[in-house]
Symmetry: C2
Subunit: 420 residues, 2 copies
């Protein structure tokens, strides 16, 4: 008998009929003897509807009140799911984050979970119940409702699985797993049956929007076996089959398993890059630039600073394209005067493409195959950054699809690797 956490996204909870299907699926797991905790998102469209009303009232509304409003979506869907489970003949009970409680810091609209009390959930599981816990939300030390930001229900589910030391956390979503790259760009993209935690982290952060990145961090920190699988399958499909579907995120590097060098190609379409030329190469320069950008609540993605020449250096970073204008304004208003760059170059027509693979650690030449492949397609590389298991390049956005397809082929990702 295992303890399993299920998470269902907004699409899976999007109608009475779909909620009923979720209940049927949970009932199947329960009937097989598993203890189940379910974490639902709000019904699809609900969070947008609520926040749209708030935005109509005030374009920059107070975060605390936005959380008060947005948190209702999951509370309603959790109650509805509990009723659907009861209609399946199960004992079920729903809890809002504050009732568990799921404690967070006070960073409204993007709070972080600090602790989860498992007592209440455990007591209900011991009493034979299915427990439904709202995704996306918690409560801070002053008793204010907080939300975790978009996609936060994934994080809720993994965090609850960690707190309960669950045997597995199943993330049911509208895709059937993690692919070597986006199948809309490369039709030969292949579903991975297993992916390492580190690779998933890089894939998630790079725009393979299957899982919220913080949920992957949580999964890694607490070593929660987490599986991404489809909620669109027949809820009556055999359990043994369902238990092996999707993509499992693992933490064990199996010695016998021959790791693929590269597991996938991630990309991010809507990037903008900014370079400050000839800024003084002295301690604190990065902070004087990025501190101001962070202050304006702009998320920075890639950051590059190269070797200085003659006491000055060129400092580059990328932001989401939507933040491009605001970022330039911050540079003009708050950075240029103190940092005094020789020039500011910018381009909001760029994309980022990355190859991700735990096998890169032990295989030289992976990056050079990437660069060779792009060169053969005539694609100019504008920026390069690397981490242990990832190499990213910034290129003109018009070449993005071409680059993804060429790299997918060059690394042989359309063929199932030996490890699968």
């Amino acid at each position: 008998m295992s303890l399993i956490v299920h998470k269902y996204g907004g699409t899976s909870m999007g109608s009475v009929e779909r909620i009923r299907n979720v209940a049927k699926r949970v009932a199947k797991w329960h009937a097989a003897g598993h203890r189940v905790v379910v974490v639902p998102s709000a019904m699809s469209g609900e969070t947008n509807r609520l926040l749209g009303l708030a935005k109509d009232l005030s374009p920059d509304a107070d975060g605390r009140e936005l959380d008060m409003i947005a948190a209702t979506g999951e509370q309603a869907s959790s109650g509805l799911l509990a009723i659907a489970l009861q209609a399946q003949g199960l004992k079920a009970r729903s809890y809002a984050g504050w009732q568990v409680p799921v404690r967070t810091d006070s960073a409204f609209t993007k709070a972080r979970i600090t602790s989860i009390d498992d007592q209440r959930i455990r007591a209900d599981l011991d009493a034979g119940m299915v427990v439904v816990v709202t995704g996306f939300q918690g409560v801070d030390d002053e008793g204010h409702i907080t939300t975790l930001g978009r996609g936060g229900s994934d994080t809720s589910a993994v965090a609850i699985a960690a707190a309960l030391k669950a045997d597995e956390c199943l993330i049911y979503t509208d895709v059937d797993g993690v692919y070597t790259t986006d199948p809309r760009v490369e039709p030969d993209a292949r579903r991975l049956s297993v992916i390492s935690f580190e690779e998933m982290l890089e894939m998630a952060s790079m725009g393979s929007k299957v899982l919220q990145i913080r949920s992957v961090e949580f999964a890694g920190k607490y070593r929660v076996p987490t599986r991404v699988l489809s909620s669109l399958t027949d809820p009556d499909m055999p359990l043994a089959e369902e238990m092996k579907s999707g993509t499992l995120i693992t933490f064990e590097e199996d010695e016998k398993m021959e790791a693929a060098v590269v597991s996938g190609i991630a990309f991010s379409r809507d990037e903008a890059k900014i370079t400050l030329l000839g800024v003084p190469d002295k301690p604190g320069i990065a902070y004087s630039i990025l501190g101001q950008v962070a202050e304006a609540n702009i998320d920075v993605d890639m950051i590059l600073q190269n070797q200085s020449v003659d006491g000055t250096t060129d400092f580059s970073f990328t932001v989401h394209r939507n933040e491009f204008a605001r970022t330039l304004a911050v540079i003009n208003d708050k950075i240029s005067a103190s940092v005094n760059p020789r020039d500011v170059l910018s381009d909001d027509k760029v994309a980022k493409v990355s190859i991700v693979g735990i096998g890169m650690r032990s295989h030289a030449g992976v990056a050079s195959l990437m660069f060779k492949t792009l060169a053969e397609e005539g694609i100019n590389i504008q920026m390069i950054t690397t981490s242990e298991i990832k190499t990213s390049v910034v290129i003109s956005d018009k070449y993005m699809e071409l680059a993804v397809r060429a790299l997918h082929k060059a690394f042989g990702l359309e063929i199932a690797a030996v490890k699968v």
Copy 2:
């Protein structure tokens, strides 16, 4: 500087534009130096939408989960109102019932408030804030969310006003006060500028659906001066004028004030009556009948038992017409065998009409004028009950409007009484 509680119904909160108007009105009160606590209902239609989803999933859903779902409507509208108030330049903060906390018993879907902690609200008022508190809901001792039942936001507002010892509780609604009777039935119906608590209690319970009856009980118990007034007026109307609009429910019997004999005509259109003929007249008989009815969660309105003859008596009561079939089933299945009535008579085409007035206490002949008036119109009285300040009759429902109009005229209600 007064402490004022405002309550706004679902219609007043029904759109972004209307929420903005509510905020403007509150801002006006705040600007005049008043400390304001606002209790909003859910946006109109929202509670029905949410409970409709629940009903689609299960026709008899668990009360605890229904409350979990329904409570979200007020939480969202409270957050939205706080944002609208902030957009008016005010400091504002919203609280769900559990955050205050508003403590209730555990009777899900119809909980009763047991206590309200005023500390958090007071601290925010002291900090210059407008405080928004969700209507309709609270939290029980185990931390489960509860709701107070339909119209419960009125009760929330009055209870919060009582806890805060507020100077006045203003119930903003889509009518401009309490009338001598329903103007849709009697066009000459007149708005009362003052009504006694006892009269309001009788009017509210009799179908003048301006205020939830429990809110009036609360107002009486804690002597909260409560005013019913329109939310549809221009929010910028002069404050002095607004402070005198609507109908004030009072607790002081002003000696100098010449009380009208009858203040209003209440009626209830959708009644059904049931009579058990010839049941044994012995202790416990009323309980053996009504206990079973209550068990089935059917609300009984009028109850009549007359003098017994030959050891048996006739026992009558009325229920809402929607409960008629269920009530007859309860009698057949659970009551007839033990109580053994000679016959069961029933009629679901009846209405109840009542005259209400604190002046009845000291004026003989009020009831006889009522009976004379009905007789002159050829209306047969089927049942009569009286209380100190009310006389009610059950008549055929087809005569209801005629009875209301005739009584309104007979008691001179179209003319403002001396006391106004």
